[in-house]
């Protein structure tokens, strides 16, 4: 379909969408009348039933934990797909393309910048762990903290280069960590089966509120998710940085 035709179809569709949008949005109840009973119930119950203060994490990891398993596995499979795509060796007859990170960097980084980058890695790791473990108390959780930790690993690459990055976060260990994180969530859910309860019931004793141990299985799930998200993003970095690993292992 030529470009002009594509644009024409798009404009016709857009006009229809705008019309329908207006027709649908006009009679919707305004924000003052819109009351979600489920949300109000959770706001009152999350503290009473689970001793946690962050309702969003409670919904994510406890009340709707099953949906979070699905989302986590979407992430897992996307990382798997990217790794697969970026790691395929060339078709017969073609040479293996050179390592994307092999050539020396065009911009020489100064010592001051390197020092600053390396100095920021430790605070980032601490902050990432803080966000992951305090998910049930303050805004945070496995997903956010996991990405923060992944950026800490990235800083290592930016500051020191690929050889050091590869030694500090070896590929095999990161793959293992991702598997442990993804499977850990399932195992925590299956733990409830031993007590005769349905999958993902919160069976660990709920601690006191405002403490790290509040929420029962929530901090465990948060840590496991954080591990998986961190490892997933580091694997994505690996995939984009270097891709001619031989099938058996490192080059």
């Amino acid at each position: 379909m030529s470009r002009g035709w594509r644009l024409g179809v798009f404009l016709a569709g857009a006009a229809g969408l705008v019309f329908l949008f207006v027709v649908v949005a006009r009679p919707l109840p305004g924000p003052l009348e819109l009351r979600n009973r489920y949300a109000e119930e959770i706001n009152t119950r999350a503290f009473r039933e689970r001793n946690v203060t962050d309702a969003v994490t409670a919904v994510n990891f406890d009340y709707r934990g099953f949906d979070t398993i699905g989302e986590e596995f979407i992430l897992f499979v996307s990382v798997l797909g990217s790794m697969f795509l970026l790691r395929m060796t060339e078709e017969r007859g073609d040479e293996i393309l050179p390592d994307a990170a092999e050539d020396s960097r065009d911009v020489r980084s100064t010592d001051a910048m390197n020092l600053w980058i390396l100095a920021m890695i430790a605070p980032k790791v601490v902050f990432g762990i803080y966000i992951v473990t305090h998910g049930q108390l303050t805004p945070g959780g496995g997903f956010q903290g996991g990405v923060i930790l992944a950026t800490a690993a990235l800083m290592l690459y930016v500051g020191e280069g690929f050889a050091v990055f590869r030694r500090v976060v070896p590929h095999g260990a990161v793959e293992f960590a991702e598997a442990v994180g993804a499977g850990g969530f399932l195992l925590i859910g299956m733990l409830a089966w031993f007590w005769g309860k349905p999958f993902l019931t919160n069976i660990i004793p709920l601690g006191q509120s405002h403490q790290l141990t509040s929420g029962g299985t929530m901090p465990l799930i948060s840590v496991s998710t954080g591990l998986e998200v961190t490892a997933g993003f580091v694997l994505l970095l690996y995939g984009f940085l270097q891709e001619n690993l031989t099938p058996r292992g490192e080059k």
Binding site: L7, P31, L32, N43
Partner: protein, 119 residues
């Protein structure tokens, strides 16, 4: 009244982002730009959900300093958005990986010129 204005503004922004992103996907001339326009389309859903979940004048659903059960913004919708953001970034990474492969096979990144599927 002011809450109505904000809601309608949010709807308009969501609709505009959706259509603009779609326009970017259709008329893009580079596959990476196409993936980024996809990001804009995804963002339109975030805007819509944020506006829907908002209750005028109420604080966030974190009960550290407030007693539990005091009125707050909707936490269920926020839970929807939260995992969604991380997951969709990974999906965009997958699309970028596909872009890299296509560029390798056909040495072009123009969606109009890629002809792998032509029989």
């Amino acid at each position: 009244m002011s809450a109505q204005i904000v809601t309608y503004a949010g709807f308009i922004v969501a609709g505009w982002l959706f259509l603009t992103g779609l326009y970017g996907i259709i008329t893009s001339r580079h596959l990476v730009h196409l993936c980024l326009s996809m990001t804009v389309v995804q963002a339109s859903t975030y805007v819509l959900l944020a506006v829907i979940g908002y209750r005028p004048g109420l604080p966030a659903p974190i009960f550290v300093n407030m007693p539990a059960g005091s009125p707050a913004v909707d936490p269920v919708i926020q839970a929807l958005m939260l995992t969604d953001i991380v997951v969709e970034a990974t999906v965009i990474a997958l699309l970028l990986a596909i872009t890299v492969r296509i560029h390798r096979r056909t040495s072009t990144a123009d969606p109009n010129e890629v002809d792998i599927m032509r029989g």
